[in-house]
Amino acid sequence: MLLQLLSYVAFMVFLVVVLAKVVKYARMPLHLRWELYPIPHEKGREYGGSYFEELDWWKKPVEKSLIGEIKFMIPEILFVRGVYHDNRKLWYASFPFHFGIYLVIGWLALLFVGALVNIAGLPSVNPITTFIQSLAVIFGAVGFVVGSIGCLGLLMLRTFDRNLRHFAAPKDYFNLLFILAIFLTGLLSWTSSDPSFEVSRDYMKSLIAFSPMTGASPSLTAHIALLSLFIMYLPFTQMTHFVAKYFTWHTVRWDDERNMRGSAIEARVGKVLNYKQNWSAPHIKSGDSWATIATEEVE
């Protein structure tokens, strides 16, 4: 049960800390606009235009294209498109690394579904069960291989590319080696002891059913332990950029929300202008609110 306990704790820590991060960023006050074009929800302005190109723009309706955003986000998330365009050398490692992680997440999800189906009483030899398990094998096996390749590639780049090496810290190598160990133990357990991932699924089942589990090979045990520890460690690192990227894009780069009279934005502006600042430079009276210092006559 020690292994299961580790997995439960890891999952809980992950959830709580990631959620805390989301709340932290979501609760930050309204900031000044700092958008960067192109903004993909600007309908028909893929070249980078904005509503400011319209004469009397404030009299025109707001037209936002959700499809435009989705068309940007899917290739960015799945294929790391930005890196493909702007840093091809890095992309050759970054893409397999990220895609490997996505496949492993998919593998875990399929094991979870397979375990649920199993708990629900469907027999082991059944088209649905077989399909889910076969898919899990593809996701897991390909994920471990592709992820390992990407991970090794990133390690090589961090070590041998002088642009990256001069900025690399011990923790960067530690993180990559940690992830590589997860991929490799997963690969080892698949090839040596769990070719159909049925033992892995049984472990998932034991987690769902709070039941004991036996029969995990040393490689699978190592894989589960490492994965659990990583899930626990991840929220404390900058690898939570999957959270950050929502905010950097949606609430900074693409935030072109207009401040119209009587709008919700205007109410939020009113609130932040009442914050009392304590900057120390001679031209700012420390202790006054932003509204006061912005409207006082300078001497």
């Binding site: 810290a169 900057w279 430079a281 210092i293």
Partner: protein, 537 residues
């Protein structure tokens, strides 16, 4: 000679100079500047200047930062720096950028994707200290080590083992003025991190906490603007005289009797120019007046202090100054009872009042702000003027001001106008939201301190000069006159300095002007050509 490798930690180590700039290392320019000897000599600082000011980054001075005289002074400045950094991360002191800054400090993956997007890093021949990630990473290291819980204990493992001393602080202060805030780096960041914002926030820290800012931006810039009416020193009485002079000049050049409407209450439009135009390029406000009158617009200028100068230098270094100027502009528009404010050809003024200050201006002060580009596009494309493109039949290229284009999304109107009235219009590459800065952005165009202008023209403006030369390579013969359209006062200033530094008019026949000048030049009702070439002045 092999260049010395500069590491992050080197910023804290005392040395005469971190890097020695050598024009032979800089990015190569196209013909006729494709040889090292075509590079003008880079002005060196005098021994006296070196003794007096902090020059240990690259031997260039933007800030004129005096060296502290005692260790106690140094320690106090370091303490203030750290206190300011802490304030940048509180909502009360920095609600204005807390979220973008926090994300930027936490999530850089150090992948270096942004470096090649930076015209200063690439233009300099890839000087390590000019990487967008260099100064940003230093700030992250200081933040992680000195302000985060457990930062010092984990500093070696997390790669934040940096010494915060006066040398570090002084060099960061100078490095904050080796970036034009063009934000090309941010555009390429796969995390959405914004290393340009780090420059902006560093400048704010120095200004708002330590009272350190380039004299041209602060005491002779935004403070002068707020106290005297304009950062140019143009006081309201002098403005009236200047406007009368411009009216006479219009009469002499075009035969038109035009009176600039001043302080006209209830006008549809309050037009605010960068006041530098009145003094350095009077043909620009004159052209606006000619066009607006010919199009029958109901418009006015303000003669009230601050109301006739659209600049807002706070955008580059100080949020308090930004808010003060923006609110004054809005207040003046409200008192005049105008329907909208139209911003003249000034990129940073566009962004300051339209985008950034959108979250400072509320209630009755929230008067719509519009770019002159859209208004001019409406006038030109909808036949409100009688225009003959043949009058502009010479090669023309367009510079995209970063603030107007990448940072505000006004991309098409100006090119629609040029396409209509300039038969030989050609784009620079890249252009639009992928443009390169003129090299004078974020205040650089108005900073003439010591050898900074040489650095500006040969390093920060280098990529722009290359783009201009590339755009005109097929007509590079100096006998073929050609023009860069730069619809922004600061960009015009930056480009003017580059062209002058490289004797570009003499060697290539390239000149520059704003956008409205092309429109008036194409007006069939104006007898003489309106655009003046350098050899006709």
């Amino acid at each position: 000679m092999k260049r010395q490798t500069i590491r992050l930690k080197d910023i804290s180590k005392s040395s005469e100079q971190m890097v020695e700039l050598n024009p032979a290392d800089f990015m190569r320019l196209p013909y006729p500047y494709d040889t090292v000897d075509s590079e003008p000599a880079f002005k060196q600082l005098t021994e006296e200047q070196k003794k007096k000011y902090e020059v240990s980054v690259d031997g260039v001075v933007a800030l004129s930062l005096p060296r502290p005289e005692t260790k106690a002074e140094e320690d106090e400045l370091v303490r203030k720096f750290l206190s300011g950094l802490g304030k940048l991360l509180t909502k009360e002191n920095n609600w204005t950028f807390l979220q973008p800054l926090s994300l930027t400090l936490e999530y850089c993956a150090k992948c270096q994707t942004c470096n090649d997007a930076c015209p200063i890093y690439t233009g300099s021949g890839k000087q390590e200290i000019y990487r967008p990630t260099y100064r940003s990473e230093i700030l992250r290291m200081i933040y992680n080590k000195y302000l985060k819980r457990g930062g010092k204990a984990l500093a070696k493992f997390t790669g934040n083992d940096i010494d915060l001393n006066w040398t570090t602080v002084a060099r960061l202060a100078e490095l904050a003025y080796r970036c034009t805030l063009c934000r090309r780096c941010a555009q390429t960041c796969p995390m959405g991190v914004d290393n340009g914002l780090v420059t902006h926030e560093l400048r704010k820290l120095f200004s708002q906490e330590m009272g350190i800012a380039p004299i041209e931006l602060h005491s002779s810039g935004s403070m002068k603007h707020l106290k005297d009416g304009s950062s140019t020193g143009l006081i309201p009485v002098a403005l009236k005289d200047t406007v009368e002079f411009l009216e006479d000049d219009i009469k002499d050049r075009t035969g038109l009797d035009i009176k600039f409407p001043m302080d006209k209450e209830g006008a549809d439009i309050l037009l605010i120019h960068n006041a530098g135009e009145f003094l350095a390029w009077p043909e620009n406000p004159m052209a606006f007046a000619i066009i607006f009158e010919a199009a029958g617009l109901n418009w006015t200028l303000s003669s009230q202090s601050i109301g006739y100068d659209a600049v807002n230098y706070g955008l580059w270094y100080d949020d308090v100054q930004l808010a003060r100027v923006a609110l004054k502009h809005a207040q003046i528009a409200k008192e005049l009872g105008v329907k909208k404010i139209v911003i003249g050809e000034c990129g940073h003024a566009h962004k300051a009042i339209s985008v950034i200050a959108d979250r400072v201006i509320t209630g009755e002060l929230n008067i719509p702000r519009e770019s002159c580009m859209t208004l001019l596009e409406d006038i030109v494309l909808n036949g409100k003027l009688n225009l003959d493109p043949k009058r502009n039949d010479f090669p023309v290229t367009l510079h995209d001001p970063c603030n107007l284009v990448r940072l505000m999304g006004v991309v098409k109107p100006q090119r629609n106008i040029l396409n209509k009235i300039c038969p030989q219009f050609r784009e620079m590459e890249p252009h639009g939201v992928k443009n390169y800065c003129c090299g004078g952005g974020s205040g650089f165009a108005i900073m003439p301190s010591m050898n900074f202008p040489d650095w500006r023209s040969s390093v920060s403006g280098r990529m722009k000069f290359k783009q201009i030369l590339d755009a005109f390579q097929d007509v590079i013969d100096p006998n073929i006159r050609k023009m860069v359209c730069a619809p922004c006062s600061n960009c015009k200033g930056g480009i003017r300095e580059i062209l002058s530094y490289y004797d570009a008019w003499e060697k290539t026949g390239i000149a520059y002007t704003g956008l409205v000048e092309f429109i008036v030049n194409a007006m069939v009702d104006i007898g003489e050509p309106y655009i003046e070439w350098p050899d006709e002045m």
